[in-house]
């Protein structure tokens, strides 16, 4: 994934997210995550990313 491709995908994702609306945002992002996970080579890679996203989500929050 080049920087340009990442940029393009980001903008497309943001616009699609805006189109589905705030009330559908969680379900939209969940579906997209699953599609991307299913296309990743192996689980080990995915598990690291899940753990990382979890840590960053909880930064500064009460345990």
């Amino acid at each position: 994934m080049t920087d340009q491709d990442l940029d393009k995908s980001y903008t497309t994702l943001c616009n699609a997210l805006n189109d589905v609306g705030e009330s559908n945002a969680q379900s939209f992002l969940a579906m997209l995550s699953l599609s991307l996970i299913a296309r990743t080579d192996n689980a080990a890679e995915v598990l690291v990313l899940i753990e990382n996203a979890k840590i960053q989500s909880l930064v500064g929050k009460q345990p």
Binding site: D7, C14, Q56
Partner: protein, 521 residues
């Protein structure tokens, strides 16, 4: 009635630079400017490498670089943690830094001073305002009011063969022609503040997202000469813009941020204004004998510093073409390529500017949510950091320009493709290739030297020759990728853009390319 071959409406940085460039081609122009002198406040501050190169065509680069603060990169912070440290392409073989920060009034002054040695070829009149524009045969009549300090200004009419509107975002010329900018605006509003404060900090672009000093806001900081900071920060959607720029509200936020980053020297505000991002352009920049350049032609978001920089590129593109048309070397239709190339550039600049704006001032919940996700992830995942990069101004590739000559040979690098700006080369004598640009068509010959008869032929057809060989080879190998035994020629326009490239030493296709500029359809 007073007459002028070229009347430039607007003596800002674009108008004054255009006047100096036209004079360098021997074309006389009259510049009329509403204000009594150079601009106040500081407005544009970041001058790109390309802008420095263009100003260099008339020698205005030297004072600019001496006075300005050059920089190569920047840092972005999420809350109080650094999430991106970016560097723009820069190496010791480059002539200029990727960016130099300077107050716009200095840029105007240096462009104007560069025009002075041309004597009568440039006449700048301050306190002079365009009132009406009337099309006449092969030109325009322009009524202008000259204010001399008394209550009623005197009106006079100037007949101009060509009128160039460099009169800014609220262009009177544009209004007189009944033309409208088209595009869109963003709602997100930024307060722009210049303050004077001593600092020892490096010259870098600094950005904070959701900083503890101003929770929820985005703050940008740039250093300028003479101990000036430019500070931009976003205000909340529900804030009243009039309230937001009241000094007491601005100063509190600025103080809070300066304290947070440890800038504790005494400071004073110099300039406060408010801004919202716009992506607007005219459909074309050529309307019979009226041409548009700079903000009069297009308004792009400030994020990525493409405003003044694209305006100077307009001037650089227009000057040699208008000079050729006025001097009878090319038909009027050469100016259509000014319009198509620079409209294309405006659209590219707006696309990049829109992306930067969507990150700096998210237009809706989706961009806000994704930005927060990016910033949080960037703390620990370098893969997403490039999304935070501000996409600073770079020269635009003129894809599909009528002046491009399609490649016939096979090339393994696109860096010298037709329509690209010629890459920099550090020459053996310590000078740079771009120092040759700005005045003539140049055939850059790589490898084997051209025979005398071919050299004479090219020169008779208005093409200067510049040969590169020997040790300099290493400097350009990455963008030519020639085999060591190969020769090549690149035809570069006066504005430093590539028209075409050929392997070998057959000059026939170069001469054919020059015919293009004489018979553009």
């Amino acid at each position: 009635m007073e007459t002028a071959p070229v009347l430039i409406a607007g003596g800002g940085p674009v108008g004054l630079t255009l006047a100096a460039l036209l004079a360098s081609f021997g074309v006389r122009s009259l510049v009329i400017e509403n204000d009594p002198s150079y601009c106040t406040g500081s407005r544009a501050i970041c001058m790109s490498r390309r802008s420095q190169e263009i100003l260099g065509w008339v020698g205005a680069d030297k004072p600019l670089v001496e006075k300005g603060l050059s920089w190569v990169g920047g840092r972005s912070y999420y809350r109080d943690t650094e999430v991106l440290h970016f560097q723009m392409p820069s190496d010791p073989t480059q002539r200029f830094a990727p960016m130099v920060n300077i107050q716009q009034y200095f840029a105007e002054q240096y462009a104007h001073e560069a025009a002075l040695p041309y004597g009568d070829l440039v006449d700048v009149r301050w306190n002079c305002t365009v009132k009406t524009v009337r099309e006449v045969k092969n030109g325009n009549e322009v009524d202008v009011t000259v204010s001399d300090g008394s209550a009623d200004g005197q009106t006079q009419t100037i007949r101009a063969d060509w009128l160039v509107a460099c009169d800014g975002g609220r262009s009177t010329v544009r209004e007189q022609l009944g033309l409208q900018l088209q595009g869109m605006q963003y709602d997100g509003k930024y307060v722009i503040v210049d303050i004077r404060q001593k600092t020892k900090r490096d010259v870098e672009r600094l950005a904070w997202f959701d900083p503890p000093s101003n929770p929820g806001s985005t703050i940008l900081m740039h250093r300028q000469p003479e101990d000036v900071w430019r500070i931009d920060y976003q205000i909340r959607d529900d804030e009243d813009p009039v309230e937001a720029i009241k000094p007491e509200n601005v100063l509190r936020r600025v103080q809070s941020h300066l304290s947070m980053i440890g800038e504790n020297e005494p400071w004073e505000p110099l300039w406060i204004s408010i801004y919202n991002a716009k992506c607007l352009s005219l459909e074309k920049y050529c309307h019979k004998r009226v041409l548009f350049a700079g903000d009069a032609a297009h308004l792009v978001p400030i994020f990525g510093v493409r405003g003044l920089n694209s305006g100077l590129d307009d001037a650089g593109n227009l000057a040699w073409k208008l000079a050729r048309v006025i001097q009878g070397a090319s038909p009027d239709s050469l100016l259509d390529t000014y319009s198509t190339e620079r409209v294309h550039a405006a659209h590219e600049n707006m696309a990049y500017g829109a992306k930067s704006t969507e990150f700096m001032a998210p237009p809706n919940f989706a961009f806000k949510l994704m930005r927060t996700a990016t910033l949080k992830l960037a703390l620990a995942d370098e893969k997403v950091r490039s999304l935070i990069n501000p996409r600073q101004s770079t020269p635009i590739h003129y894809v599909n320009s009528a002046l491009n000559v399609a490649d016939k040979d096979v090339w393994s690098s696109d860096l010298t493709a037709p329509g690209m700006p010629m890459p920099e080369v550090l020459l053996d004598d310590g000078t740079h290739l771009t120092q040759q640009f700005g005045h003539n068509f140049i055939c850059i010959v790589f490898g084997e030297a051209l025979e005398e008869s071919k050299r004479v032929n090219l020169e008779q057809n208005g093409i200067k020759i510049y040969s590169i060989a020997g040790n300099e080879y290493a400097g350009y190998s990455h963008f030519l990728l020639l085999k060591s035994s190969e020769s090549a020629m690149i035809l570069v326009r006066p504005d430093g853009y590539i028209m075409g490239r050929w392997k070998g030493t057959d000059i026939a296709p170069l001469l054919a390319a020059m015919k293009l500029t004489e018979a553009i359809l």
